[in-house]
Symmetry: C2
Subunit: 324 residues, 2 copies
């Protein structure tokens, strides 16, 4: 039996975590031969509910689950963890501006970044799911100078899945027939779902659909999909978000030659300002993400890439005070 | 690719279904090479929330999921289904006696039994999860005279898992080291979690723990575990219930030589009144459950078996009018 790996999940009693924890414990993230120890963080008011999750985990009797650490202490949460899924975030209150939300969450992710910097495994891989995810990741990276910024990513994988599903449905193809979809930018309504380089059963996607559908249906549907789910369910996406997080972490651990979209620190590729946490198409090998290079970017795409960059720059400016 | 199988799930927008649907779609119930078509039933008021579940399912893009039928029509739900997981049930209202609950649910399961009788595959396998599960199954069986009563079971698997987890924790053993646990009787506080025939790493469990622990800790802890989860989570068990349902259905489809506990129509084994839906230890081969025979039942066990039988007889008498 392999030695266990430690996986931290914040917001442990929340909806996404509830869809995530049991699947990680059953081996869906790291495979059926990898024992895991879960570190679950919650705010004090939610520890009782988290205890209920623990009871249910015990009742499932997952052989791979070696231990569970349950705490409201951020430092304790991250001791020696190999993976951290930062799922918990403060929700937007009724009278809150977006800038307030950025600041409230900024404080949380600053504390978590510091704790990761001090206590986590030196090879920790950190996925930020809690929104606003890109800027939360940006803050955590800033607070963790001893870790490589490449050890952090913010989740765009759900948007990536949504875009694949829309294109597959439109073209009547299987999900697995769709390749090289890209989501660029921020995990927000300015994200740019891009099929310029996508193929469906090996054929260029752009030859199968018209520009009007792309601009007026595909892009807004993917951008607004989260809102559509909330309207129907009365709650935000949880099971599909958990599945996206699992998919990304599995790819990060095991590697993938498929293009996947994930938000990482910009190295200036495609003219995106350095250090912004921006979604690019990447491939993953030996735990390292590489941005797919040299793609042709047409004028329409360029303006979309820039619009999302501008939003991320504004978010960065809003939380600039927190970085000191 | 195999032809798809059709799986009905009632209470499709509920908590247990939310933990169940995505895992069935990902292949956890019937394996990674078995395409599925889901038939999801909800009451009209919950169809909008169910639509949200459908959006999330699409966003996961599970290659095995060929189609989803979403309806509030019971007959439509069960057309040609190979498996039916009857998860939805009316909850106990504030001023409701247990007898009221039995009757309200009795009506629901009578309608579902009739629809299964008329529309389902002749080989359908039906798991009743919604409580009071045993008597709900009894009613559905009564309403489905053209199906074999052995095509129905009521879920005791969560209790079975809970008992294994408690004994493993007490003896410091791995979950997989515990064999031949039995839950007898009704899925209620009268159930009898029995370790008389259980082994832990091949040793008789009774030689490892004392009778006082069995009577005063083990049995009440397993019997009251559902209540303990509700107290902590503020909601009833969902992920662990979904996992138990998946485990049972997988065993039913694939077979198991391990003893599992599940409630089936009594054939008179162990002196249990015929036709009650009572939990026994069973093994499963080629889709057929066989009650493990010739176990020695001591005096203490006998009285526990009888107490749970008496409760099921009372439940049967309460709903007797519904059967005509």
């Amino acid at each position: 039996m392999k030695p266990p790996v430690r996986i931290a999940i914040t917001g442990g009693a929340g909806q996404i975590a509830y869809s995530l924890i049991f699947r990680i414990a059953s081996g869906e993230m790291l495979g059926p031969d990898q024992p895991v120890i879960l570190h679950l963080l919650e705010v004090p008011a939610a520890l009782k509910a988290l205890k209920g999750v623990l009871l249910e985990l015990e009742d499932c009797g997952y052989p791979l689950l070696q231990n569970v650490v349950m705490t409201d202490d951020t430092n304790l949460t991250f001791i020696d963890v190999d993976y951290a899924l930062l799922v918990g975030a403060a929700p937007r209150g009724p009278d809150m501006e977006r800038s307030d939300l950025l600041k409230v969450n900024g404080e949380i992710f600053k504390v978590q970044g510091k704790a990761l910097n001090e206590f986590a495994s030196r090879d920790v891989k950190v996925l930020v799911v809690g929104n606003p995810a890109n800027t939360n990741a940006y803050i955590a990276i800033s607070a963790a100078p001893d870790l490589n910024p490449k050890q952090f990513t913010a989740m765009m994988r759900l948007d990536h899945h949504r875009a694949i599903a829309q294109l597959a449905a439109k073209t009547g193809a299987e999900i697995t027939a769709v390749k090289n979809i890209i989501i660029w930018g921020n995990h927000s309504a300015t994200q740019y779902p891009d099929i310029s380089h996508a193929t469906v059963n090996g054929q260029p996607a752009k030859s199968l659909v018209d520009q009007d559908w792309i601009v007026n249906e595909f892009i807004p549907t993917v951008q607004q999909r989260g809102t559509e789910v909330i309207k129907a369910r009365g709650k935000s996406s949880a099971a599909s978000a958990a599945f996206a997080a699992l998919s990304l972490m599995r790819d990060w651990a095991m590697g993938t030659e498929q293009w996947v979209s994930t938000a990482i620190v910009s190295d200036g590729s495609y003219g995106i300002a350095k250090d912004l946490v921006y979604s690019f198409p990447v491939t993953i090998k030996n735990g390292e993400m590489s941005i797919v290079q040299d793609l042709e970017i047409d004028e329409f795409s360029r303006s979309c890439l820039q619009a999302s960059q501008r939003e991320l720059e504004q978010e960065r400016d809003t939380i600039a005070d927190l970085l000191h």
